[in-house]
Symmetry: C2
């Protein structure tokens, strides 16, 4: 099974109530591919970095089975950079700085070997770029998931609506679901969003868990109550990577299996937030992931 | 089995995004006793109303097996009155008016027949009054639960801390748990609150469900995603009534049974919010409640 993903590979400056970290490796595609690599190989990456991006990180990703043929490295240019400060609740944050750098002129080009990928995770990025990736595929993947955010709803809603028509699974947070649908009730929001294209909707609620909607059916995966959340950055991308990685590994896109995928995604996200950046996602083992999933099962058992 | 409860029996003016309702019957003790009446008889009430309180409501409660011997009816006086307006999210509200009326001089007096009650639910009220009820019991109940709110933490923290030392189960919302403990992480908050007395802590998170903490163990009951929430008033009290009613019915205070009680409480609360005031809590059947509990089980099954 093969999973293709597109998104940013970047640097972040992060400030949380636990501390701060500068120029840590981040980006949606980094989190997605790393999380997915625990489930499936190859994970194929379409993205762009400058020549400032650390070789060790690229080597580590390759070592984990991530295919970087589609990663463009622009000589003499700088990688995408984001700086943000989380509020005390960790549910909200302020963007302090955004430097597009190589992303400003990013033209996603799929290597030939990528064009028949069986699963596709369109990470949070300009909807137009997400569409360009979809259009280069010669075969329609078995499942296409897309992550997006309020920013694109504000400035590129028409493009977003066009790409939504072509995907299967949308992952957004509760406020974004309300913004996209114009409905306050998440049940009504899900109905409205299904009509836009995605047959499956995953609403990520951070510390309150995640909801999976499909044709009137609902699944609720709680979040694990954690003693310490060091850094929420990348948790949603890590969720998406775990979710799609599990789907690609099992090759089963039934609603029942998608529930399990949501729990695996939640488990991966629960690791992610324990340290800054991608640190906690390095060196996990299948047993550690299974144990975490078991904690989720125990949490809701009655 | 017998369940004793204390709290307000009152009138509410309520404004929500769905509409408004004036002078509807409300009050913590009303919701608690009505919800608990679906599980156990007798439910004994200690409270006070004026002579303006509708006889039909009292008759209805009696018909449901609620013992009103401990309900004081003050001739020529008015019942407690609260008016509030919910914000769009329904998670927050503004108090528009509070008229203490009979509550200003409330002296809770337990009838002799109440003094050996096996279970006690101290509904949200002045901590001093909650303490007075506890002190009149001649036998320590098998389980004592207490509900409170940020208002008492602001103006009567010393009294609250004293009564917390004497109870088993505390039910509060997430912001109140943070305020009471001074801890942002709910896992740390639970640890701190256990040290104040309650061996069990239930954190109510409204549309995000409820968490039960006990000595490092955690149970997560999600909330049912509802298409329409008409009025959240009384949902927390209804939860408490269903929770304690189920415990009293089963006579089992193990952690495992308490999990089931949390789900039954959540199921009762999910009915409560569907209509204004106590309307939706009238005329439920055991089958309707069982079906709702089954929906909770389905929601988290994977």
């Amino acid at each position: 099974m093969s999973l293709l993903t597109v998104g940013t590979v970047a640097f972040d400056d992060i400030e949380t109530p636990s501390g701060r970290a500068e120029k840590v490796v981040g980006g949606a595609c980094t989190y997605i591919s790393l999380a997915a690599s625990y489930f499936v190989k190859p994970v194929r990456v379409v993205s762009v970095v400058g020549d400032d991006f650390p070789h060790e990180t690229l080597e580590y990703l390759r070592h984990r089975g991530v295919d970087l043929e589609g990663l463009q490295i622009k000589e003499g240019e700088k990688s995408f950079f984001w700086a943000g400060r989380y509020h005390k609740s960790l549910n909200t944050r302020d963007t302090l700085d955004t430097q597009l750098n190589v992303l400003a002129t990013f033209d996603p080009v799929l290597p030939e070997s990528y064009k028949q990928s069986e699963y596709l995770m369109l990470g949070n990025l300009t909807p137009m770029v997400q569409m360009q990736v979809l259009e280069q595929l010669t075969h329609r993947p078995k499942l296409v998931a897309l992550d997006t955010m309020n920013f694109w709803m504000d400035i590129a809603m028409d493009d977003l609506r066009k790409v939504l028509e072509k995907i299967d699974v949308l992952t957004i947070n509760d406020e974004e679901a309300r913004q996209l649908s114009g409905e306050h009730s998440l049940v009504h929001a899900a109905r409205a969003i299904h009509k836009m294209g995605p047959k499956y909707l995953i609403i990520k609620k951070g510390e309150h868990g995640a909801l999976l909607f499909h044709r009137g059916q609902i699944f609720y995966a709680p979040a694990l109550p954690l003693a310490e959340v060091t850094d929420p950055t990348g948790a949603g991308d890590t969720f998406a990577g775990g979710f799609m990685g599990y789907i690609a590994k099992t090759g089963d896109i039934s609603f029942e299996n998608m529930k399990r995928a949501v729990v695996f995604g939640s488990a991966m996200a629960s690791f992610c937030v324990e340290k800054f950046g991608i640190e906690r996602l390095k060196g996990l083992t299948p047993a550690m992931i299974e144990n975490r999933v078991e904690e989720f099962a125990e949490l809701v058992k009655f």
